[in-house]
Amino acid sequence: MGSHSSNRTRVPLSRMAMGNGHGEDSPYFDGWKAYQIDPFDPAENPHGVIQMGLAENQLCADLIEEWLIDHPEGSICTAGGSDKFRDIANFQDYHGLPKFRNGIAIFMGKVRGNRVKFDPDRIVMSGGATGAHDLIAFCLADPGDAFLVPTPYYPGFDRDLCWRTGVKILPVNCKSSNNFKITKKALEEAYNGAVDAGIRVKGLIITNPSNPLGTTLDRATMKDLVDFVNEMNIHLVCDEIYAATLFRGPDFISIAEVIEEYDDDCCNRDLIHIIYSLSKDMGLPGFRIGIVYSYNDDVVRCGRKMSSFGLISSQTQHLIASMLSDDEFVERFIAESSARLAKRHGYFTHELERVGIRCLDSNAGLFVWMDLRELLAEQTFEAEMVLWRVVIHKVKLNVSPGSSFHCSEPGWYRVCIANMDDQTMEIALARIRSFVLENMMGNCMRVVRSKESKAVECKLKVSFSNRKMEEVMKMPCSMSPCSPMPPRSPLVRART
């Protein structure tokens, strides 16, 4: 591409192409670059940066691998499945394979304890949840319209919901003082603010279980949200991508269950939509399995036509259809995945607490919401970024600062814990322990005690060589930066 590298500014492209709605011109890429330049590998690079900024679920791959070997019919490439090759390779119907939609509907039901059933005919395919959000925004809103989104929220929403659609996100600020719950007051404030500014609000987007909090919404809050959207006559889009990552109580309550408690005249189901994917629950992000599930017939119809722009490979539909129709496997997977997440989460948070680091009490997700407010020199976002750079470059963990999630308070960090093996986890914990202990030795601070004793205020002056920091920051990135969501996998590294 070198010979055309100077062509970048000569040719006017679209406004969309020339703007930065893709969201990648952000300071948070430092973390990704640090990882790419110096990625941890237990054998080849044991001092490299450990990736803890990626919400991936790598704990249960073995269960799926076993299933694949035992079920050659799931693939169109095996002797057991190749008789289906041509039909599947030829299948591009945007309704999707009926078996695929049935499998997804049943899986979604099982994940919700079979307390609710899903209609396969309401399932619309999309290019991952990324594609699903882009699609639902195109269906529900015009350029200039807005969606309310409680903070902190998944950074990818800025691109997925807004970039191509021209739609805006208006944050609904949630606070640590009540564990970041979504309050009616906050919703109303955000809504009224939009009205005052002449912005038309088309809907509310929630992620439940939450990314980055790892918490689930309680029934009372869910009902408040349903009441609110019905009162304002706006849509409610529930991203339930982490539904099966629940690892302890309280239970996950899906919007699908909540609306069952309403009469038709009190809840207009045409306002209710669910976004789903198998990227997190099953750890299959490469397969791009996204789902839009809408209770609104028009949205299903329109969405289905739009899904042509991001259909799921029929090869993958066939595999998933086979896998999810195996009830025994599905039940075992959901239970085992939950157990492994519980173990990983329990161990990680326990070890953090031992060195005085607290996380938001959570019951789901592939990450923890770490509270490092007490380590900030001052309660500002600048201080958050300073600490963040220390964590990346000195502690060598790529974590995600709360500001990247539009958190309204500095000092919180999302730390992913399900994308690594036990050995790597131990190394990450060891580094955290060393960092905390080093700072206890070298600076004036008092130990933050565990929750049994009073919490003591602590000031940490983060000390590092300014010169070294400058050097690190100036390091050129030898690989093209890629989206914060999908970094290069070891497979790519090994081959390039």
């Binding site: 050659p72 030829n90 309401r122 609110f228 490979s313 090869q315 595999l319 999908p486 996998s489 081959r495």
Partner: protein, 480 residues
């Protein structure tokens, strides 16, 4: 209860895009699909059913691919040999795509062009089929209200793919049977001037080469002239080369990528093409699309946008393995055009014997049939009436020229590569029988005047009528 809403209007108001019909499916052409859906041909189970000839699919070479797959278990992450790749592949969501996938595609595309040109794997951007690639390119090159010129007749789904969500306009440039529907420079110049004069911002030209629905390739001189035209006016040229490996007779296919170096004023920043494996390899279900641009900024933006429609990593691995196998590629690219040529020749000969002419084609999975002599008058109403006769009486779902925006009535696109020999023979037999009856009974079509035009809308969510771009396969029908 607080929040009861007595006013349901809001929820009925979706976006303008959702409500504007830009998806293109509210068209009369769906009658053909419905006829097929309601009565699909099967050689033994339903020998009098409608034969699908409206679907541009390549089903002639599945056996070659199936053989390759049987002999290459490592290409799948589901086999004992390939499962070691499972974790890395399922976890791989990098929008750059697997490097081996891009490299294999670059080599394959070059080989299709006789290795007369090389492609840079780093300029390959993934998309969900050409459907995704063409939309993404519009988002990158044009703002809502901007226009692209497109020679007609053209692929009907361009109306959806290029316009629906992007707000881009399409300005057709009518091509005529008098010169075999070739796009002339003067037609292009006059369409361009007219658009500019009416205040439209023309951002570029879209060319499908080989052409759908014509089944012809653009000659080198025409390509050069078009490229010179767009280069001088600093507008983009987007070539859809999705049928590049379906060329089965001379002249050899010439890609825009080859012509670039022969046009002195060509600025590569304005040159882009799209590709897919859906037609050349017959794998539409796999959604393997490529956007290739010589403009760095377009590659960079399109790559970020590809997040909305990446190719499944499972499929990337399979395709990468297959297309890296030089022997397989040579064998396939030798055999596939041969089978297409034989099937094409059979149709053209049989139809010729009953006096039906086609545009002389050398590529594609269809031919452009000339049925003008069967029209009572040269009007589109007559074309539709004749079309209904073909669908309901001859029981062949073909596509009327008006659905491709053809300026002259009486032409039909007829697909021939989506069926086996038995079905092809039946289809040819029916056409022959129809022509014979037509000559014997000029009032034949009158018995069909009472046929209903258009259909009631079926509002059921599980409506089985397939969409012209993605119909239900027999697999689906068998399972329902």
């Amino acid at each position: 209860m607080v929040g009861c809403s007595s006013d349901g209007d809001g929820s009925k108001v979706l976006s303008k895009i959702a409500m504007n019909g830009g998806h293109g499916e509210d068209s009369p052409y769906f009658e053909g699909w419905k006829a097929y859906d309601n009565n699909p041909f099967h050689p033994t189970q339903n020998p009098n059913g409608v034969i699908q000839m409206g679907l541009s699919e390549n089903q002639l070479c599945f056996d070659l691919i199936e053989d390759w797959i049987k002999n290459n278990p490592k290409a799948s992450i589901c086999t004992a040999d390939g499962v070691e790749n499972f974790r890395n592949i399922t976890n791989f969501q990098d929008y750059h795509g697997l490097p081996e996938f891009r490299q294999a595609l670059a080599k394959f595309m070059a080989r299709i062009r006789g290795n007369r040109v090389e492609f840079d794997a780093d300029r390959i951007v993934m998309s969900s089929g050409c459907t995704g690639a063409s939309e993404t390119l519009m988002f990158c090159l044009a703002d809502p209200g901007d226009a692209f010129l497109v020679p007609s007749p053209y692929y009907p789904a361009f109306n959806r793919d290029l316009r629906w969500r992007t707000g881009v306009q399409l300005i057709p440039i009518s091509c005529h049977s008098s010169n075999n529907f070739q796009l002339t420079l003067s037609d292009l110049e006059s369409a361009y001037s007219k658009a500019i004069e009416s205040g439209v911002k023309v951002k570029g030209l879209i060319l499908t080469n080989p052409s759908n629905p014509l089944g012809t390739t653009s000659d080198v001189d025409t390509l050069k002239a078009l490229l010179e035209f767009t280069s001088r006016r600093k507008i983009h040229i987007v070539c859809d080369e999705i049928y590049s490996a379906t060329v089965f007779a001379p002249p050899v296919f010439t890609s825009i990528s080859e012509v670039m170096r022969e046009v002195e004023c060509c600025d590569p920043c304005f040159v882009h093409f799209i590709y897919s494996l859906s037609k050349d390899l017959g794998l539409p279900g796999f959604r393997v699309g490529v956007l290739y641009s010589y403009n760095d900024a377009v590659v960079s933006t399109a790559r970020k946008m590809s997040s909305f429609g990446l190719v499944s990593s499972q499929t990337q691995l399979l395709v990468a393995s297959m297309l890296s196998d030089g022997d397989f590629v040579e064998r396939f690219l030798g055999e596939s055009p041969r089978r297409l040529r034989d099937r094409h020749r059979k149709f053209v000969e049989v139809l010729g014997r009953v006096g039906i002419g086609c545009l002389k084609g050398n590529a594609g999975l269809f031919f452009w049939m000339d049925f003008r002599k069967f029209l009572e008058e040269e009007t589109f109403e007559e074309e539709m009436r004749l079309w209904r006769v073909i669908v309901h009486d001859i029981r062949l779902n073909v596509s009327p020229g008006s659905s491709f925006g053809c300026a002259e009535p009486g032409f039909f696109r007829v697909c021939f590569a989506n069926m086996d020999e038995v079905t092809a023979d039946v289809a040819l037999g029916r056409i022959g029988a129809f022509v014979t009856r037509w000559h014997g009974d000029k009032n034949l079509r009158l018995s069909f005047k009472s046929l209903k035009s258009g259909d009631e809308n079926n509002n059921s969510l599980s409506m089985t009528s397939p969409h012209v771009m993605s119909p239900r396969s027999p697999v689906v029908i068998a399972r329902n």
